[in-house]
């Protein structure tokens, strides 16, 4: 994690011109994050104790204690985010990255957030889900004027409710969220006095991420902000598989995953190998009587879900959005299905016209995962990633939960591939074939079952 001198660089000249030096000197220095890796949890150096979260491929903002007030400094600015190695996107974010740093405070903390705007247009921050004075809610025009470029605004309120929250602009918000402006806010319960919170269990691992989506034309770098639903880059925290960090846990640990959705569609988040309960939302903790076991929870647009479970099954377990298009990289939604289409005799002809042509899709699309064909510049492949048993053929909202008996508490390092105990993996049957084989298929693609001589499709119409 790097720190940046707020007074350096031409970008500060605007701020310096509009804010007095005395006032600027009073500001906490904004921390800058240059890496898209997952930062280790930030244990609180000051203030009330809490159990910190791990933000997937993100970080927690440091704060400055000022007369009992936790002061943060967020800088809204254009950033270049590495969404995956070799694939970067021009985004708008906070303090060098998208999403911005996670803000972690404790129930009852007095929080003061300085927001400096280095975007080309005004912005605000809405503190999604918080109880706060109306004038701190951040809806431009409704609760406050916009923060003009070069200006710094101050938000100040008490973190009254423990739980899972997010922050995002509420000024030109369609554009600014499509460009990646968002961040997590965790208010930890105040359990310093020793009494556990009735609805918020103590967990050994606490993971948090936002769901966000971008539409980046293959070969370009900037999201198309006007796309409503047909996005092609589906992210956890502006990051795609296989570049999303795995969630690791020691076998038997209680694990919490907090998910917020700032895309334009819902995401059924599905965990393999375990059942969980939704223990809270951005509305607060769910009473125990209202919980039920699930392996998938749908996170609707603008919602947050906090799930808890015991990681008691060792292995590498998939955690992903169950919409299969959301576990893909950039894809052509209008490309026709080529399955079962005989290409014999045509390949050479096409190669004569297009020398680099290769048949794809005749048997399905798995070839894509295996073949590493050259793609346009800065284009994330539709399916990629390799595991111990071959291509994963994924590329979006997908990562793994790695449960190990020997993972040390507090160790977040990737333990590598899971070694499956002998006799616990699906295997190929090499014995005798089934005694009563199913009769071979009699119909062929393009004909209805049982049709004797189905008419071949032709361009000519029916003779009438």
């Amino acid at each position: 994690m790097n720190r940046r001198n707020f007074f350096s660089g031409a970008a500060t000249a605007v701020a310096a011109a509009s804010v007095s030096r005395v006032a600027l000197a009073a500001l906490p220095e904004p921390a800058l994050q240059t890496s898209a890796d997952t930062a280790p949890p930030l244990h609180p150096p000051t203030g009330r104790p809490y159990n910190p979260v791990v933000t997937l491929n993100g970080w927690t903002a440091p704060w400055r204690m000022n007369a009992g007030v936790k002061e943060f400094h967020l800088v809204a600015e254009p950033v270049v985010r590495e969404v995956a190695p070799g694939f970067v996107v021009n985004m708008w974010g906070y303090n060098g990255q998208s999403p911005g740093p996670t803000i972690e405070v404790v129930e009852g903390d007095r929080v003061r957030i300085f927001v400096t705007n280095r975007l080309p247009e005004h912005t605000t921050i809405h503190w999604h889900g918080q109880r706060l004075p109306n004038g701190m809610d951040g809806v431009g025009g409704l609760n406050q004027p916009g923060i003009q470029p070069g200006k710094t605004f101050v938000y100040e309120f008490e973190a009254r409710r423990p739980g899972t929250f997010m922050y995002h602009p509420h000024a030109d918000e369609m554009v600014q969220m499509a460009m990646g402006m968002m961040g997590l806010w965790i208010t930890h319960p105040n359990v310093g006095k020793g009494a556990a919170h009735p609805h918020i269990a103590k967990v050994q691992r606490d993971y948090a991420f936002l769901l966000n989506a971008f539409d980046v034309e293959p070969g370009s770098l900037t999201p198309k902000v006007n796309t409503m639903l047909d996005h092609n880059i589906w992210c956890f925290n502006s990051r795609v598989f296989p570049a999303i960090s795995p969630l690791v846990a020691r076998q038997g640990e209680r694990v919490r995953i907090r998910v917020g959705n700032l895309t334009m569609t819902n995401h059924p988040i599905h965990l393999h190998g375990h059942e969980f309960e939704v223990t809270g939302t951005d509305g607060g903790p769910v009473p125990k009587s209202a919980r039920w076991p699930e392996v998938t929870t749908d996170v609707a647009v603008g919602q947050m879900r906090q799930v808890d479970f015991i990681a008691d099954e060792p292995g590498d377990w998939a955690l992903h959005c169950h919409k299969s298009h959301h576990t893909m990289g950039a894809m052509g939604h209008s490309v026709p299905t080529m399955i079962g289409v005989d290409h014999r005799g045509l390949v050479g002809k096409i190669q004569k016209i297009v020398p680099d042509y290769m048949v794809m899709g005749e048997r399905g699309m798995a070839d894509m995962g295996a073949m590493e064909m050259p793609l346009p510049d800065n284009t994330f492949p539709m399916m990629t990633g390799t595991g111990p048993f071959g291509p994963l053929e994924m590329g979006g909202m997908f990562t793994t939960l790695k449960v190990r008996a020997d993972q040390r508490a507090g160790d977040y390092r990737d333990p590598g591939d899971f070694k499956q105990p002998p006799g616990t993996q699906a295997y190929e049957w090499t014995g005798a074939p089934a005694s009563t084989p199913r009769p071979a298929r009699t119909d062929t693609p393009g004909t209805a079952p049982g049709a004797a001589n189905a008419r071949k499709p032709a361009a000519s119409g029916h003779p009438h």
Binding site: K349, V354, P376, M382
Partner: protein, 474 residues
Amino acid sequence: MSAIHRLSLLGAVAFLAGCASVSPDGLRGDVAALTAGRTGGVQAALPAADPAARAQAQQSIQGWLAQPLTQDAAVRIALLNNPGLHARLAALGVADAERVQAITLPNPHLALGRFTNSQEREIERTLSFSLLDLVTLPWRTARQAERMQVATLQTAQEVVTLASDTRRAWLRAVAAEQVAAAHERMAEAAETGAELARRMARVGNWSRLQLAREQAVLHETRAQLARARLAAATEREQLSRRLGVWGLQAQYRLADQLPALPATALPADGIEATALRERLDVQAARRQLDTQAIRQGWSRVGAVFGDIGLAYTRNTTTERATGERDVKRGWELDLPLPLFDWGGAARTRAQAEVEQSAAQLQDTAVRARSEVRSAWRTYRTALDLARQQQGEVVPLRQFISDETTLRYNGMLASVWELLAEARASTQAVANAIEAQRDFWLAETDLQLALTGTSPGALQGLTSGAAATTTPQGH
């Protein structure tokens, strides 16, 4: 007058008519001299008059036709072999013979008479000839020479025009053949797309509507191919006509590409002066004016003394009885009296003809200036367009094709989009060939307008923007 004297008189007359001999090669040499350097930088021979040289020429033609036919070889063949040009050159020979006839002194008349009466026998010998012809001989000789020069200049213009026409026909034929080859490739891409579409529909992956769209593309490209092939055949026929070949000789193979674009363009300064100095039609108009001016000089004499006759008479009278001979010699001059026609009309006519010629020279010069300016502008624009098409558009289309291939690799684009882009880049190549052809056509016009003669209606530039086929929408 002794015979010696008489001979010397006749000799003097013959001397005056000194250039009254027919050109041995029917003025072909003069035409060749005038067309040298005006046939686009190629040393092209004209058909010779003697049979041995003609056989030699036929051998050369066979040799040129055996190789892929270059533009220069086409010009050489056309100038040697084009029947229309043969006819023109023969006509020039005829005109030359007529000239010689026109300035040969009319043969003197010898009138012999034998008259008898009872007393005497009279032998009359009168040698007479028209004096006017003699008096005006220098003028007429000069005038006929001028007229011949004008005719020679006109024939030379026919030669350079034929050379230019042959160049244009060659350019069109070669370009049309290349464009047809591009259409073959486009049709092949469409055939492949349609076949794959049929297979898609057969297994149920595509509706008949989607299949029909690809088949429509196929038929469109097939029709374009048929037109391109016809155009290639038609242009080739035009060239063969200029070359004057038929049958087996017309089976020649064309060069497979047009000459490359020049690195630098011809500058525009001085082109008008060059045209006025070099152009054969301007020279012909100037000669015409000179001729009329000379003619004006003797028109007066001719008109007033329409027919001056000079006769020498020697009459011998023999007394039948005595046998005594009496010789009567004498000159007789016969001239019309200008009582009624003082030659005013003829003078006026000659004056008017001078004015007419002067005006025609002016007209020719003004047109030459304008034509050369216009031809240069067309040439310059054609060069820019051809460079743009070749240097920018074709590479861009290739880049688009390559990028579409990358998108196909990522399953972001379909094979039909790939084929459509391949067709579009082939179309861009065809457009580039046509732009290159248009440049060379414009260059041919410019050279003709600069040093030859009027190119007639200047070729505009054809628009090479063919509609690019769009991939099937989904």
